[in-house]
Amino acid sequence: MLEAFNFATIDAPPSCAGVPEEEAEASGVSRDDLKLLCEIGVMALAMERGDEALPIFRLIDSLQPHNAAGAIGIAMIEVAAGRERDAFARLRSAIAKCRICVREAKAILAIFLMGFGRHAEARPLRREILRGPDCGARRLIQSYGPV
């Protein structure tokens, strides 16, 4: 299962010991801590242990409401639990209000919609992603075939 991940981010050099404390968020969770938590959450999702990562994605969602990453993780857990309607609503809300990770949220929503036979709703999302810049979301949609 490990090959399913892009571990490039894990190879990043560790923070210097002298990093100013201002990097720590008011919540007491630094960006580096949040990144590590997100890595654990993504790994848990891929290992079918998403339920255990739910608090992580809720934390990301609360600390970074401008980032769709938290909503993406929660939505994937909801779909795995058979609550796809909740997941669709969550992803749509995140797409509307977030500024970061929006392309990824759109790609995931499009694929889940297609998986549940809602191709007409997925088509505009797919077209929009395919018109956008080259990124993981576009490559994912491209791998899924013609619109």
Partner: protein
């Protein structure tokens, strides 16, 4: 659920999931497998971007 299954590279399970199939009780298991396979592919392609996103500045837009 065929779309969910196909992206994960699993075999077409339409026969087993059909309304007339005697194996209909296996639907939940097949459904879960399809969801899991789909999630694995999505995380393989998007996981790095999702992880990196938490490091981005609040004012950034992508």
């Amino acid at each position: 659920m065929n779309a969910l299954n196909s992206i994960g590279g699993t075999q077409d399970t339409s026969a087993a999931t059909g309304a007339n199939s005697a194996a209909g009780s296996d639907f939940d298991a097949i459904f879960q497998e399809g969801v899991q396979n789909t999630a694995a592919v999505m995380l393989q392609m998007l996981g790095g971007d999702i992880i990196q996103s938490v490091m981005k500045d609040e004012q950034s837009v992508d």
